[in-house]
Symmetry: D3
Subunit: 230 residues, 6 copies
């Protein structure tokens, strides 16, 4: 038996819209360095930058049947998150499924497996973050859950969570934390903007962050090469 | 001792020309999901899409001598397929060899090893699918066979087979099957075009492929989140 | 305790300028196939091609503090080379540090770890060669040496050495050898240019390099497929 | 800030004792093929087979400080589960920490990172499942949480969950499900024992599981080699 | 559709018995350095050393159904060779299937995927060479061919071929070549035995193989450290 | 051209003898966490523990010729360190070469490549630390340097340096530092022995190392689960 949850709660649209303006690195920092998917989940084309609400889907290895089931649960502004129940790099997803999802307003796909037809997906502007590019096809024999928590890229994703994905990778924000993380990210971004100006003007991080005393206290010593013998 | 076979039979040009219009994923499906090289064989630039007849070449690890021998066996419309006799990621191939092959009308290179000078190869428009990009040079000391079956990307390639390569990877079509696979691919492509329109209009795969009854028979259940306790 | 060497000697500017005209593969060959970093150190965008003098920096795993210290030691024409003291793929470096380095005239970064904010780095035209792209942040707790020899991409880099980096990867030229390697590279390049013309005109490597006799002596035999039984 | 939870609830001792009699593969099947850590988490010696209750601990990359904090939270029958906040293979754990844990009755360690002193650990009979063996030492600078949920080997582990580990790997059983999973595992094991006898007597799975009709319905055909042409 | 070939021809028993006395490295050399599986295919316990005739079996990713079908085609002296149709590390095979195969006289398993219950397999003395140890279970939904050529560990294996497996890995000897390869291996082994004595007596390979002149001709020079400046 | 240095200086025998009593982890700590080879260099059997003086040798990929040259430079108490000039996992070394080295009193081999005949090497008690076990043979065509600095497992090894290798891996001690590192290691070991007793008696690292105040200062807080809401 497997279940499809049909009435998931999604993060607030305003929070998602706000997070879409923030990069993955900023959001990751803003929520205390949590929720970042493994570095092996990479975009098929660059640049790409989206934020949306997760519809989640498990699939059996080599079997993409449940992606068709999940598609029906997707609505505009969603990002489909697909995780195989054991590691697999098959091409679960191609241009037909992308056409289907795009027609429903789905913003992109995050999949801890392979994808194919990437030239067409690139032309369509349908971004995918995946573990592999692989033309290997799949069967349709085994059912799994849709809209239940999944583990994707080493991270737990619940339906309705916010997914932010850009050239750096993918970060998950828990639904309940979306507003708080957005506020923290915006504050951080503002703070960074000010620092960026100082750095652009030639100030050093050593001074911008007042590091010199703490470095000296740790024992950092400046020497000339003449002081070193070897 | 090593041999160079000088009079290989190539797949029919019409079949190759037809297969050049088909993507790797489609051809792979059309021939029963066989012949796909490992996902680690990736194009050095994108987009790239070629189909041609294989000239095959084994090389010793760290030794690219036989590529020069193989070059002489190549003719217009060929794709050179190079496989080391044990795993190696050295840069066997660079811009001089590409110039040589391009002057003979060779369409591209598939190599289960490394390649270098990729900026120049990109500027030349000479596509390569390789396991690595690596500037490490090679020697010229050991002979191997040319135009004998090789194992490349985990697949067996015979001289004269059709190679189709695009952004998704590389697929091998046995020479004798080229026409049949082309026919199956064209049929599949036509079928997909019709489906693409239905998907673009918002129809779901669940309905396009009549999956609902079979999913229910397997035990798939639709629930509301209120039905789940955890 | 850790030290920062403040008065490193850099390779001669003329040699660096000359090496900037040469590709990594050429320089690697010209210095006897030494100094090439592992193939896993890849550029974040392409094309990219720089040569500069190394400022070197060790960092603790998950700790980017010393990059701020190293920044102060950098001057125009330098390339910062960062190596963690044990393997780590965290995102040690992002757009703020790049802004800081770029304001000082630093040409790029080579890091045997991860990097983030790559969309911004790409827009800024600040090239990075790294082992990973990963948004994972770092702490500032542990001190390490700056401008001492480091091991990066499997290669030893001393401060003041020349780093040449392009789409093929990264090569290190020892400071004392810069002029000699440049001369050898230029000679090699001139020699290659002449060969490129011959190849473009359809001459084969077999003849350009006079390989036929040596191949025959090794036992290479040309056969027709009829000669083979299998 | 980081927290140490000092009063975690542990799975019932009877359930843990029962699960200690079951192999990882059986438990994994019995709970619906969930909770299995990635295959890269391997025992440092074989055979090894334990089950216990999880004390969980995050650590910064290259920093094993929190393992000392977690040790105090461990009691007899526990298994310490350590997860770095970003991927790291340093040797976080050696014979001194093992001596400390063993003196408290801790059964073993599961760590998504490296371990060292494995010859001594083997002599002591203190089993470890780890991602790497690596002598690289760590610092003590950064605090993290103890007894909060962690992601280890791609799986979520909560404090008090049951960990079963043997030569096949590591599986996590949620605390609340321990009794139910034990019952299912025992039933499965009994069932397998009966099947083992039939297999030992030469019966085939085709008959033991009544597969022949379903295979034929799927289209499986038995042929002689004479029927095949190729 | 999928087929099971029921009347495969096996290599001559005398040749197989002879090859069982030879190590993988020797056999690999004796047949011209061909047929060696990838180094990732490793024994689950050591020492282990078998030779037998291949029964071949494809399986879908995450689906071990066909192993049950293949079991019926096995007879005493066979080795079962299992290859997934796309990369997968699931635990396709455990103690029940091993009991079944062992009761039929099957000597061992070679699988380009995962295996489980390895503690029991070790106790039973049923050797397995696999890509992974992983408790992840599989389904029984998809049919594939039995006793057709497969690609396992990067090598093509035909039913009836000889498989030799030991602590060094796995090598495939084509059925038609079994006697010739055995003869070459025995000759090589005899030759090595004589050399082993000379080496044990302190003679150097330089003299045993008469390498000194050829090395000097290549340009090898003996120097004292005083001759080197750096 | 390539050179063989015939009169290398070796570390003092007393220092080497002393280091042979110390584990790799201890030595690595004692010299300031430097010199540890990559974790991928693993022993072919366990337990194994040796220390000796390095004779170094580069080899071309797939070519073991220089190992024969290096053998002549080895004397009792040496460890041969072999590094390919580009990454390769071929089986460069087997039982014949081991017999040769063992007859000269060589203690073992460290190789950043593959090894074969490991069952025999295990029986002989000739330990090897390698990157791979692979039966793939090599040729004898290309010369390289012997007793010049090499990069092995990511570390620089000079001839005469001390190599310590055990189940945890391999560490390099520069010749000039051997006595100092030995003294530091012995001091550390003595210190650890005292701590081991305290740990065995149930004392915690928190108290043995006086960590509690510093943890509190960093912000570590002890809470009961009731204090946490989520």
């Amino acid at each position: 038996m497997a279940v499809v949850v049909t009435d998931i709660q999604r993060a607030a649209p305003e929070a998602v819209a706000g997070l879409a303006q923030q990069g993955v690195a900023t959001v990751h920092e803003a929520q205390g360095r949590k929720g970042l998917m493994a570095s092996g989940i990479r975009p098929i084309y660059r640049p790409a930058h989206i934020a949306g609400t997760a519809v989640t889907c498990n699939v059996a290895p080599g079997d993409n049947w449940m992606i068709h089931v999940a598609a029906e649960q997707c609505q505009a502004g969603d990002i489909l998150v697909v995780a195989p129940t054991s590691p697999c790099e098959d091409g679960y997803f191609g241009d037909l499924l992308a056409t289907s999802l795009q027609s429903r307003g789905v913003l992109g796909l995050v999949i801890d497996a392979g994808v194919r037809d990437i030239a067409t997906l690139t032309d369509m502007g349908f971004p995918v973050w995946s573990k592999a590019v692989y033309a290997q096809g799949t069967v349709k024999e085994t059912i799994c859950d849709v809209n239940r928590p999944v583990l994707c890229g080493g991270m737990r994703v619940c339906p309705g969570d916010v997914i932010v994905a850009d050239d750096d990778g993918v970060v998950v924000v828990e639904r309940a934390n979306a507003e708080a993380v957005l506020a923290a990210a915006q504050k951080r971004e503002a703070n960074e903007e000010e620092k960026r100006l100082r750095f652009a003007n030639g100030e050093l991080g050593l001074d911008v962050y007042n590091m010199r005393d703490r470095l000296a206290a740790k024992g950092l010593v400046y020497v000339s090469s003449a002081d070193l013998e070897e």
